[in-house]
Subunit: 138 residues, 4 copies
Protein backbone atom coordinates (compact mmCIF):
# COMPACT_ATOMS: atom_id res chain seq x y z
CA UNK A 1 0.00 0.00 0.00
CA UNK A 2 1.71 3.16 -1.23
CA UNK A 3 -0.91 5.72 -0.21
CA UNK A 4 -3.50 6.04 2.52
CA UNK A 5 -6.39 8.39 3.21
CA UNK A 6 -6.32 10.55 6.33
CA UNK A 7 -9.42 12.27 7.77
CA UNK A 8 -8.84 15.91 8.73
CA UNK A 9 -11.03 18.53 10.33
CA UNK A 10 -11.56 21.67 8.24
CA UNK A 11 -11.18 25.28 9.33
CA UNK A 12 -14.97 25.36 9.60
CA UNK A 13 -14.76 22.66 12.25
CA UNK A 14 -12.00 24.61 13.98
CA UNK A 15 -14.22 27.66 14.11
CA UNK A 16 -17.11 25.61 15.50
CA UNK A 17 -14.80 24.25 18.21
CA UNK A 18 -13.62 27.72 19.18
CA UNK A 19 -17.14 29.15 19.30
CA UNK A 20 -18.32 26.29 21.51
CA UNK A 21 -15.25 26.57 23.73
CA UNK A 22 -15.77 30.32 24.17
CA UNK A 23 -19.43 29.78 25.04
CA UNK A 24 -18.52 27.27 27.75
CA UNK A 25 -15.69 29.47 29.06
CA UNK A 26 -18.05 32.42 29.35
CA UNK A 27 -20.63 30.26 31.09
CA UNK A 28 -18.13 29.30 33.80
CA UNK A 29 -16.57 32.77 33.84
CA UNK A 30 -13.03 31.75 32.93
CA UNK A 31 -11.22 33.44 30.02
CA UNK A 32 -9.28 30.87 28.01
CA UNK A 33 -6.82 30.43 25.16
CA UNK A 34 -8.17 27.88 22.67
CA UNK A 35 -5.96 26.28 20.03
CA UNK A 36 -7.08 23.87 17.31
CA UNK A 37 -4.55 21.90 15.24
CA UNK A 38 -4.85 19.41 12.38
CA UNK A 39 -3.75 15.78 12.71
CA UNK A 40 -0.16 16.78 11.96
CA UNK A 41 -0.13 19.30 14.79
CA UNK A 42 -0.17 22.40 12.57
CA UNK A 43 -2.24 25.30 13.93
CA UNK A 44 -5.64 25.65 12.28
CA UNK A 45 -7.27 28.27 14.50
CA UNK A 46 -6.61 30.07 17.76
CA UNK A 47 -8.56 32.43 20.01
CA UNK A 48 -7.48 34.24 23.16
CA UNK A 49 -10.38 35.54 25.20
CA UNK A 50 -10.01 38.87 26.94
CA UNK A 51 -8.19 38.25 30.22
CA UNK A 52 -6.68 34.91 29.28
CA UNK A 53 -3.04 34.58 30.37
CA UNK A 54 -0.62 35.27 27.55
CA UNK A 55 1.88 32.64 28.68
CA UNK A 56 -0.86 30.10 28.04
CA UNK A 57 -0.88 31.00 24.32
CA UNK A 58 2.08 28.66 23.88
CA UNK A 59 0.96 25.98 26.30
CA UNK A 60 -2.56 25.75 24.83
CA UNK A 61 -0.95 25.10 21.46
CA UNK A 62 1.46 22.57 22.94
CA UNK A 63 -1.46 20.74 24.56
CA UNK A 64 -3.18 20.46 21.18
CA UNK A 65 -0.01 19.32 19.42
CA UNK A 66 0.61 16.71 22.10
CA UNK A 67 -2.91 15.33 21.84
CA UNK A 68 -2.67 15.17 18.03
CA UNK A 69 0.60 13.29 18.26
CA UNK A 70 -0.25 10.75 20.94
CA UNK A 71 -3.92 10.37 20.04
CA UNK A 72 -4.90 10.74 23.67
CA UNK A 73 -5.52 13.47 26.22
CA UNK A 74 -2.44 15.39 27.33
CA UNK A 75 -1.32 15.35 30.93
CA UNK A 76 -1.26 11.68 31.75
CA UNK A 77 2.37 10.72 31.08
CA UNK A 78 4.56 9.86 34.05
CA UNK A 79 6.23 13.04 35.29
CA UNK A 80 9.74 12.09 34.18
CA UNK A 81 8.72 11.31 30.62
CA UNK A 82 6.69 14.51 30.39
CA UNK A 83 9.51 16.75 31.51
CA UNK A 84 12.15 15.17 29.32
CA UNK A 85 10.00 15.00 26.19
CA UNK A 86 9.08 18.63 26.71
CA UNK A 87 12.74 19.49 26.79
CA UNK A 88 13.59 17.37 23.79
CA UNK A 89 10.90 18.90 21.65
CA UNK A 90 11.68 22.43 22.85
CA UNK A 91 8.25 22.92 24.30
CA UNK A 92 6.14 21.51 21.48
CA UNK A 93 5.14 18.59 23.71
CA UNK A 94 3.62 19.11 27.12
CA UNK A 95 2.36 17.06 30.01
CA UNK A 96 -0.18 19.72 31.03
CA UNK A 97 -3.85 18.73 31.07
CA UNK A 98 -6.30 20.36 28.64
CA UNK A 99 -5.39 18.83 25.28
CA UNK A 100 -7.67 16.31 23.55
CA UNK A 101 -7.55 14.54 20.19
CA UNK A 102 -10.52 14.72 17.84
CA UNK A 103 -11.15 11.10 16.89
CA UNK A 104 -13.34 10.83 13.78
CA UNK A 105 -13.94 7.60 11.87
CA UNK A 106 -11.39 5.97 14.15
CA UNK A 107 -8.65 8.37 13.10
CA UNK A 108 -6.97 11.36 14.73
CA UNK A 109 -8.51 14.15 12.66
CA UNK A 110 -7.11 17.03 14.72
CA UNK A 111 -6.88 18.19 18.33
CA UNK A 112 -7.89 20.97 20.69
CA UNK A 113 -5.88 22.53 23.51
CA UNK A 114 -7.26 24.89 26.15
CA UNK A 115 -5.19 26.89 28.60
CA UNK A 116 -5.37 29.68 31.17
CA UNK A 117 -7.80 28.27 33.68
CA UNK A 118 -7.29 25.50 36.20
CA UNK A 119 -6.80 21.98 34.78
CA UNK A 120 -10.44 21.16 35.54
CA UNK A 121 -11.66 24.35 33.88
CA UNK A 122 -9.49 23.81 30.80
CA UNK A 123 -10.76 20.24 30.51
CA UNK A 124 -14.41 21.29 30.90
CA UNK A 125 -14.06 23.89 28.12
CA UNK A 126 -12.31 21.46 25.77
CA UNK A 127 -14.88 18.74 26.41
CA UNK A 128 -17.76 21.12 25.70
CA UNK A 129 -16.17 22.07 22.39
CA UNK A 130 -15.64 18.44 21.39
CA UNK A 131 -19.22 17.57 22.31
CA UNK A 132 -20.45 20.39 20.06
CA UNK A 133 -18.35 19.14 17.14
CA UNK A 134 -19.43 15.54 17.57
CA UNK A 135 -23.04 16.66 17.75
CA UNK A 136 -22.65 18.66 14.51
CA UNK A 137 -21.05 15.65 12.81
CA UNK A 138 -24.13 13.61 13.77
Amino acid sequence: MLTRSRTEITDAAARLLIDAACAKAEEIGVPENIAVVDSAGHLLAFHRMSGAKFHSIATSQAKAVTAASIGAASGHAPMEAGVVVGLTTQGAFTNLKGGFPLIIDGQIAGAIGVGSGSPDEDIAVAEAAIAALMSALG
Copy 2:
Protein backbone atom coordinates in the same frame (compact mmCIF):
# COMPACT_ATOMS: atom_id res chain seq x y z
CA MET B 1 3.40 60.43 34.66
CA LEU B 2 3.61 57.09 36.37
CA THR B 3 0.90 55.30 34.45
CA ARG B 4 -0.46 55.38 30.97
CA SER B 5 -3.44 53.96 29.17
CA ARG B 6 -2.87 51.59 26.31
CA THR B 7 -5.53 51.11 23.65
CA GLU B 8 -5.89 47.47 22.74
CA ILE B 9 -8.10 45.64 20.30
CA THR B 10 -10.33 43.00 21.87
CA ASP B 11 -10.81 39.42 20.79
CA ALA B 12 -14.07 40.57 19.20
CA ALA B 13 -12.07 42.92 16.98
CA ALA B 14 -9.68 40.09 16.19
CA ARG B 15 -12.60 37.93 15.12
CA LEU B 16 -13.98 40.76 12.95
CA LEU B 17 -10.56 41.12 11.31
CA ILE B 18 -10.32 37.40 10.60
CA ASP B 19 -13.84 37.23 9.19
CA ALA B 20 -13.18 40.18 6.89
CA ALA B 21 -9.82 38.78 5.83
CA CYS B 22 -11.36 35.39 5.01
CA ALA B 23 -14.11 37.06 2.99
CA LYS B 24 -11.55 38.99 0.92
CA ALA B 25 -9.34 35.91 0.50
CA GLU B 26 -12.30 33.88 -0.74
CA GLU B 27 -13.25 36.70 -3.10
CA ILE B 28 -9.80 36.62 -4.74
CA GLY B 29 -9.55 32.83 -4.50
CA VAL B 30 -6.40 32.67 -2.36
CA PRO B 31 -6.37 30.61 0.87
CA GLU B 32 -4.52 32.50 3.59
CA ASN B 33 -3.19 32.26 7.11
CA ILE B 34 -4.39 35.24 9.16
CA ALA B 35 -2.82 36.18 12.49
CA VAL B 36 -3.94 38.95 14.82
CA VAL B 37 -1.78 40.07 17.75
CA ASP B 38 -2.24 42.64 20.48
CA SER B 39 0.05 45.66 20.88
CA ALA B 40 2.52 43.49 22.80
CA GLY B 41 2.80 41.08 19.89
CA HIS B 42 0.97 38.27 21.70
CA LEU B 43 -1.34 36.17 19.52
CA LEU B 44 -5.02 37.07 19.90
CA ALA B 45 -6.53 35.03 17.08
CA PHE B 46 -5.45 32.93 14.14
CA HIS B 47 -7.16 31.22 11.23
CA ARG B 48 -5.70 28.96 8.53
CA MET B 49 -7.99 28.59 5.53
CA SER B 50 -8.11 25.20 3.79
CA GLY B 51 -5.21 25.05 1.36
CA ALA B 52 -3.10 27.77 2.98
CA LYS B 53 0.59 26.82 3.18
CA PHE B 54 1.57 25.44 6.56
CA HIS B 55 4.97 27.14 6.60
CA SER B 56 3.11 30.45 6.46
CA ILE B 57 1.57 29.75 9.87
CA ALA B 58 4.84 31.00 11.36
CA THR B 59 5.49 33.79 8.87
CA SER B 60 1.98 35.28 9.16
CA GLN B 61 2.48 35.51 12.91
CA ALA B 62 5.95 37.00 12.46
CA LYS B 63 4.51 39.65 10.13
CA ALA B 64 1.95 40.66 12.74
CA VAL B 65 4.52 40.72 15.53
CA THR B 66 6.84 42.83 13.41
CA ALA B 67 4.11 45.34 12.58
CA ALA B 68 3.05 45.59 16.24
CA SER B 69 6.64 46.17 17.26
CA ILE B 70 7.65 48.78 14.72
CA GLY B 71 4.23 50.42 14.31
CA ALA B 72 4.55 50.24 10.53
CA ALA B 73 3.94 47.79 7.73
CA SER B 74 6.38 44.87 7.54
CA GLY B 75 8.55 44.35 4.49
CA HIS B 76 10.04 47.78 3.97
CA ALA B 77 13.39 47.49 5.73
CA PRO B 78 16.48 47.42 3.51
CA MET B 79 17.27 43.80 2.65
CA GLU B 80 20.44 43.61 4.72
CA ALA B 81 18.80 45.02 7.85
CA GLY B 82 15.91 42.58 7.49
CA VAL B 83 18.22 39.60 7.35
CA VAL B 84 20.30 40.67 10.32
CA VAL B 85 17.31 41.46 12.53
CA GLY B 86 15.66 38.21 11.50
CA LEU B 87 18.76 36.32 12.54
CA THR B 88 19.05 38.22 15.80
CA THR B 89 15.46 37.57 16.79
CA GLN B 90 15.48 33.96 15.59
CA GLY B 91 12.60 34.50 13.25
CA ALA B 92 10.25 36.55 15.45
CA PHE B 93 10.90 39.59 13.24
CA THR B 94 10.44 39.39 9.49
CA ASN B 95 10.93 41.58 6.47
CA LEU B 96 8.16 39.86 4.48
CA LYS B 97 5.28 42.03 3.33
CA GLY B 98 1.77 41.43 4.67
CA GLY B 99 1.95 42.72 8.26
CA PHE B 100 0.19 45.95 9.31
CA PRO B 101 -0.25 47.72 12.62
CA LEU B 102 -3.74 48.67 13.78
CA ILE B 103 -3.41 52.35 14.67
CA ILE B 104 -6.33 53.53 16.80
CA ASP B 105 -6.45 56.93 18.55
CA GLY B 106 -2.85 57.42 17.46
CA GLN B 107 -1.66 54.28 19.26
CA ILE B 108 -0.62 50.82 18.14
CA ALA B 109 -3.62 48.82 19.33
CA GLY B 110 -2.61 45.53 17.69
CA ALA B 111 -1.53 44.19 14.32
CA ILE B 112 -2.53 41.79 11.58
CA GLY B 113 -0.31 39.50 9.50
CA VAL B 114 -1.41 37.60 6.40
CA GLY B 115 0.58 34.89 4.66
CA SER B 116 0.39 32.17 2.00
CA GLY B 117 -0.42 34.19 -1.10
CA SER B 118 1.82 36.52 -3.09
CA PRO B 119 2.91 39.73 -1.35
CA ASP B 120 0.24 41.68 -3.24
CA GLU B 121 -2.46 39.17 -2.31
CA ASP B 122 -1.42 39.11 1.36
CA ILE B 123 -1.47 42.92 1.43
CA ALA B 124 -4.89 43.11 -0.24
CA VAL B 125 -6.37 40.70 2.31
CA ALA B 126 -4.83 42.53 5.27
CA GLU B 127 -5.99 45.92 3.99
CA ALA B 128 -9.54 44.66 3.49
CA ALA B 129 -9.59 43.42 7.08
CA ILE B 130 -8.28 46.72 8.43
CA ALA B 131 -10.81 48.68 6.39
CA ALA B 132 -13.60 46.56 7.87
CA LEU B 133 -12.36 47.19 11.40
CA MET B 134 -11.97 50.92 10.86
CA SER B 135 -15.44 51.07 9.35
CA ALA B 136 -16.89 49.24 12.37
CA LEU B 137 -15.07 51.62 14.72
CA GLY B 138 -16.84 54.50 12.90
Copy 3:
Protein backbone atom coordinates in the same frame (compact mmCIF):
# COMPACT_ATOMS: atom_id res chain seq x y z
CA MET C 1 -18.00 20.73 5.51
CA LEU C 2 -16.45 19.87 8.87
CA THR C 3 -14.01 17.16 7.72
CA ARG C 4 -12.05 16.41 4.59
CA SER C 5 -10.00 13.46 3.36
CA ARG C 6 -6.29 13.93 2.69
CA THR C 7 -4.21 11.49 0.60
CA GLU C 8 -0.88 10.59 2.18
CA ILE C 9 2.03 8.45 1.04
CA THR C 10 2.85 5.54 3.32
CA ASP C 11 6.23 4.55 4.70
CA ALA C 12 6.30 1.86 2.00
CA ALA C 13 6.16 4.61 -0.62
CA ALA C 14 8.89 6.49 1.24
CA ARG C 15 11.10 3.42 1.11
CA LEU C 16 10.41 2.99 -2.61
CA LEU C 17 11.39 6.62 -3.18
CA ILE C 18 14.63 6.24 -1.25
CA ASP C 19 15.59 3.03 -3.06
CA ALA C 20 14.98 4.62 -6.46
CA ALA C 21 16.84 7.77 -5.45
CA CYS C 22 19.85 5.75 -4.26
CA ALA C 23 19.88 3.77 -7.50
CA LYS C 24 19.94 6.96 -9.56
CA ALA C 25 22.57 8.56 -7.33
CA GLU C 26 24.81 5.51 -7.68
CA GLU C 27 24.28 5.53 -11.44
CA ILE C 28 25.57 9.10 -11.69
CA GLY C 29 28.19 8.55 -9.00
CA VAL C 30 26.98 11.21 -6.55
CA PRO C 31 26.33 10.31 -2.90
CA GLU C 32 23.17 12.04 -1.67
CA ASN C 33 21.01 12.69 1.35
CA ILE C 34 17.40 11.78 0.60
CA ALA C 35 14.53 12.94 2.82
CA VAL C 36 10.86 12.01 2.42
CA VAL C 37 8.14 13.84 4.36
CA ASP C 38 4.36 13.50 4.56
CA SER C 39 2.00 16.25 3.39
CA ALA C 40 2.37 18.02 6.73
CA GLY C 41 6.15 18.15 6.39
CA HIS C 42 6.88 15.53 9.07
CA LEU C 43 9.83 13.22 8.28
CA LEU C 44 8.79 9.78 7.03
CA ALA C 45 12.14 8.37 5.93
CA PHE C 46 15.73 9.50 5.44
CA HIS C 47 18.88 7.99 3.99
CA ARG C 48 22.42 9.39 3.84
CA MET C 49 24.62 7.60 1.34
CA SER C 50 28.26 7.05 2.21
CA GLY C 51 30.13 10.25 1.33
CA ALA C 52 27.12 12.55 1.30
CA LYS C 53 27.80 15.88 3.04
CA PHE C 54 26.50 15.95 6.59
CA HIS C 55 25.45 19.61 6.42
CA SER C 56 23.03 18.56 3.70
CA ILE C 57 21.16 16.35 6.17
CA ALA C 58 19.29 19.45 7.31
CA THR C 59 18.95 21.10 3.92
CA SER C 60 17.60 17.97 2.23
CA GLN C 61 14.90 17.84 4.89
CA ALA C 62 14.19 21.57 4.51
CA LYS C 63 13.81 21.09 0.75
CA ALA C 64 11.22 18.38 1.30
CA VAL C 65 9.34 20.42 3.92
CA THR C 66 9.31 23.43 1.62
CA ALA C 67 7.95 21.42 -1.31
CA ALA C 68 5.25 19.86 0.89
CA SER C 69 4.19 23.29 2.11
CA ILE C 70 4.13 25.19 -1.17
CA GLY C 71 3.06 22.27 -3.38
CA ALA C 72 5.77 23.12 -5.87
CA ALA C 73 9.47 22.54 -6.42
CA SER C 74 11.78 24.35 -4.01
CA GLY C 75 14.27 26.91 -5.27
CA HIS C 76 12.13 29.15 -7.40
CA ALA C 77 11.17 31.94 -4.99
CA PRO C 78 12.70 35.38 -5.53
CA MET C 79 15.95 35.58 -3.57
CA GLU C 80 14.70 38.09 -1.02
CA ALA C 81 11.63 36.06 -0.11
CA GLY C 82 13.71 32.88 0.14
CA VAL C 83 16.22 34.37 2.54
CA VAL C 84 13.68 36.02 4.78
CA VAL C 85 11.32 33.07 4.96
CA GLY C 86 14.28 30.84 5.77
CA LEU C 87 15.13 33.11 8.66
CA THR C 88 11.57 33.37 9.87
CA THR C 89 11.08 29.64 9.93
CA GLN C 90 14.48 29.02 11.52
CA GLY C 91 15.68 26.98 8.59
CA ALA C 92 12.63 24.80 8.03
CA PHE C 93 11.98 26.56 4.72
CA THR C 94 14.62 26.81 2.03
CA ASN C 95 15.04 28.28 -1.40
CA LEU C 96 17.56 25.62 -2.45
CA LYS C 97 16.70 23.46 -5.44
CA GLY C 98 16.11 19.72 -5.01
CA GLY C 99 12.73 19.53 -3.26
CA PHE C 100 9.61 18.28 -5.04
CA PRO C 101 6.02 17.66 -3.94
CA LEU C 102 4.40 14.28 -4.59
CA ILE C 103 1.09 15.16 -6.22
CA ILE C 104 -1.33 12.21 -6.11
CA ASP C 105 -5.03 12.46 -6.99
CA GLY C 106 -4.52 16.20 -7.29
CA GLN C 107 -3.37 16.53 -3.68
CA ILE C 108 0.00 17.06 -2.03
CA ALA C 109 0.55 13.56 -0.61
CA GLY C 110 4.12 14.14 0.58
CA ALA C 111 7.44 15.45 -0.72
CA ILE C 112 11.04 14.47 -1.39
CA GLY C 113 14.19 16.50 -0.86
CA VAL C 114 17.65 15.58 -2.13
CA GLY C 115 20.89 17.27 -1.13
CA SER C 116 24.67 16.99 -1.32
CA GLY C 117 25.25 17.10 -5.08
CA SER C 118 24.97 20.04 -7.43
CA PRO C 119 21.46 21.45 -7.97
CA ASP C 120 21.21 19.57 -11.28
CA GLU C 121 22.33 16.31 -9.66
CA ASP C 122 19.94 16.70 -6.74
CA ILE C 123 17.09 17.40 -9.15
CA ALA C 124 17.94 14.40 -11.36
CA VAL C 125 17.94 12.07 -8.35
CA ALA C 126 14.65 13.43 -7.01
CA GLU C 127 12.98 13.20 -10.40
CA ALA C 128 14.10 9.58 -10.86
CA ALA C 129 12.60 8.71 -7.48
CA ILE C 130 9.30 10.40 -8.29
CA ALA C 131 9.13 8.67 -11.67
CA ALA C 132 9.58 5.31 -9.92
CA LEU C 133 6.76 6.06 -7.46
CA MET C 134 4.38 7.25 -10.15
CA SER C 135 5.16 4.14 -12.18
CA ALA C 136 4.41 1.91 -9.17
CA LEU C 137 1.14 3.75 -8.55
CA GLY C 138 0.17 2.95 -12.15
Copy 4:
Protein backbone atom coordinates in the same frame (compact mmCIF):
# COMPACT_ATOMS: atom_id res chain seq x y z
CA MET D 1 49.92 9.77 17.31
CA LEU D 2 48.66 12.37 14.91
CA THR D 3 45.91 10.37 13.27
CA ARG D 4 43.51 7.69 14.33
CA SER D 5 41.09 5.38 12.63
CA ARG D 6 37.45 5.61 13.50
CA THR D 7 35.13 2.67 12.92
CA GLU D 8 31.83 3.78 11.45
CA ILE D 9 28.73 1.92 10.42
CA THR D 10 27.77 2.36 6.77
CA ASP D 11 24.40 3.27 5.35
CA ALA D 12 24.00 -0.43 4.52
CA ALA D 13 24.28 -1.19 8.23
CA ALA D 14 21.80 1.58 8.96
CA ARG D 15 19.36 0.00 6.53
CA LEU D 16 19.85 -3.42 8.13
CA LEU D 17 19.17 -1.90 11.55
CA ILE D 18 15.98 -0.23 10.35
CA ASP D 19 14.72 -3.38 8.64
CA ALA D 20 15.34 -5.46 11.76
CA ALA D 21 13.75 -2.81 13.97
CA CYS D 22 10.65 -2.65 11.77
CA ALA D 23 10.36 -6.44 11.81
CA LYS D 24 10.46 -6.50 15.61
CA ALA D 25 8.05 -3.58 15.90
CA GLU D 26 5.57 -5.32 13.62
CA GLU D 27 5.96 -8.53 15.60
CA ILE D 28 4.97 -6.77 18.82
CA GLY D 29 2.38 -4.60 17.06
CA VAL D 30 3.87 -1.22 17.95
CA PRO D 31 4.57 1.37 15.21
CA GLU D 32 7.90 3.08 15.86
CA ASN D 33 10.20 5.85 14.72
CA ILE D 34 13.71 4.48 14.18
CA ALA D 35 16.74 6.75 13.85
CA VAL D 36 20.31 5.65 13.11
CA VAL D 37 23.22 8.06 13.51
CA ASP D 38 26.94 7.77 12.90
CA SER D 39 29.53 8.13 15.68
CA ALA D 40 29.38 11.91 15.27
CA GLY D 41 25.65 11.93 15.93
CA HIS D 42 24.74 12.86 12.35
CA LEU D 43 21.61 11.16 10.98
CA LEU D 44 22.34 8.22 8.68
CA ALA D 45 18.86 6.79 8.21
CA PHE D 46 15.37 7.23 9.60
CA HIS D 47 12.07 5.43 9.21
CA ARG D 48 8.64 6.34 10.64
CA MET D 49 6.22 3.43 10.57
CA SER D 50 2.57 4.19 9.82
CA GLY D 51 0.93 5.21 13.09
CA ALA D 52 4.11 6.17 14.92
CA LYS D 53 3.73 9.42 16.89
CA PHE D 54 5.09 12.43 15.05
CA HIS D 55 6.50 14.07 18.16
CA SER D 56 8.74 11.02 18.53
CA ILE D 57 10.48 11.87 15.26
CA ALA D 58 12.57 14.32 17.25
CA THR D 59 12.92 12.25 20.39
CA SER D 60 14.03 9.09 18.55
CA GLN D 61 16.80 11.11 16.93
CA ALA D 62 17.74 12.69 20.26
CA LYS D 63 18.00 9.23 21.82
CA ALA D 64 20.39 8.11 19.10
CA VAL D 65 22.48 11.29 19.34
CA THR D 66 22.67 10.91 23.12
CA ALA D 67 23.80 7.28 22.90
CA ALA D 68 26.44 8.13 20.27
CA SER D 69 27.73 10.94 22.44
CA ILE D 70 27.94 9.17 25.78
CA GLY D 71 28.69 5.70 24.46
CA ALA D 72 26.00 4.21 26.64
CA ALA D 73 22.26 3.65 26.62
CA SER D 74 20.14 6.76 27.01
CA GLY D 75 17.78 7.16 29.93
CA HIS D 76 19.96 6.28 32.86
CA ALA D 77 21.11 9.69 34.07
CA PRO D 78 19.68 10.89 37.36
CA MET D 79 16.49 12.87 36.65
CA GLU D 80 17.95 16.24 37.59
CA ALA D 81 21.03 15.83 35.39
CA GLY D 82 18.88 14.79 32.44
CA VAL D 83 16.72 17.86 32.71
CA VAL D 84 19.64 20.26 33.01
CA VAL D 85 21.58 18.75 30.11
CA GLY D 86 18.42 18.69 28.01
CA LEU D 87 17.91 22.37 28.67
CA THR D 88 21.54 23.20 27.96
CA THR D 89 21.55 21.40 24.64
CA GLN D 90 18.10 22.61 23.63
CA GLY D 91 16.78 19.13 23.21
CA ALA D 92 19.64 17.44 21.35
CA PHE D 93 20.37 15.38 24.47
CA THR D 94 17.66 13.36 26.12
CA ASN D 95 17.22 11.20 29.16
CA LEU D 96 14.48 9.09 27.55
CA LYS D 97 15.10 5.37 27.24
CA GLY D 98 15.44 3.75 23.79
CA GLY D 99 18.85 4.95 22.58
CA PHE D 100 21.82 2.57 22.32
CA PRO D 101 25.37 2.96 21.03
CA LEU D 102 26.69 0.50 18.46
CA ILE D 103 29.98 -0.65 19.95
CA ILE D 104 32.16 -2.34 17.31
CA ASP D 105 35.81 -3.26 17.89
CA GLY D 106 35.61 -1.42 21.17
CA GLN D 107 34.60 1.84 19.50
CA ILE D 108 31.36 3.78 19.20
CA ALA D 109 30.58 3.15 15.53
CA GLY D 110 27.13 4.74 15.57
CA ALA D 111 23.89 4.57 17.52
CA ILE D 112 20.21 3.74 17.23
CA GLY D 113 17.25 5.48 18.80
CA VAL D 114 13.69 4.15 18.87
CA GLY D 115 10.61 6.13 19.89
CA SER D 116 6.81 6.06 19.96
CA GLY D 117 6.14 3.00 22.06
CA SER D 118 6.56 2.53 25.79
CA PRO D 119 10.14 2.56 27.12
CA ASP D 120 10.13 -1.25 27.25
CA GLU D 121 8.83 -1.52 23.70
CA ASP D 122 11.33 1.00 22.36
CA ILE D 123 14.16 -0.87 24.10
CA ALA D 124 13.00 -4.26 22.76
CA VAL D 125 12.91 -2.93 19.20
CA ALA D 126 16.34 -1.30 19.48
CA GLU D 127 17.88 -4.43 21.02
CA ALA D 128 16.45 -6.64 18.25
CA ALA D 129 18.00 -4.35 15.65
CA ILE D 130 21.38 -4.38 17.37
CA ALA D 131 21.28 -8.16 17.69
CA ALA D 132 20.63 -8.44 13.96
CA LEU D 133 23.57 -6.17 13.15
CA MET D 134 25.93 -7.99 15.49
CA SER D 135 24.85 -11.31 14.02
CA ALA D 136 25.52 -10.03 10.49
CA LEU D 137 28.94 -8.76 11.57
CA GLY D 138 29.72 -12.30 12.74
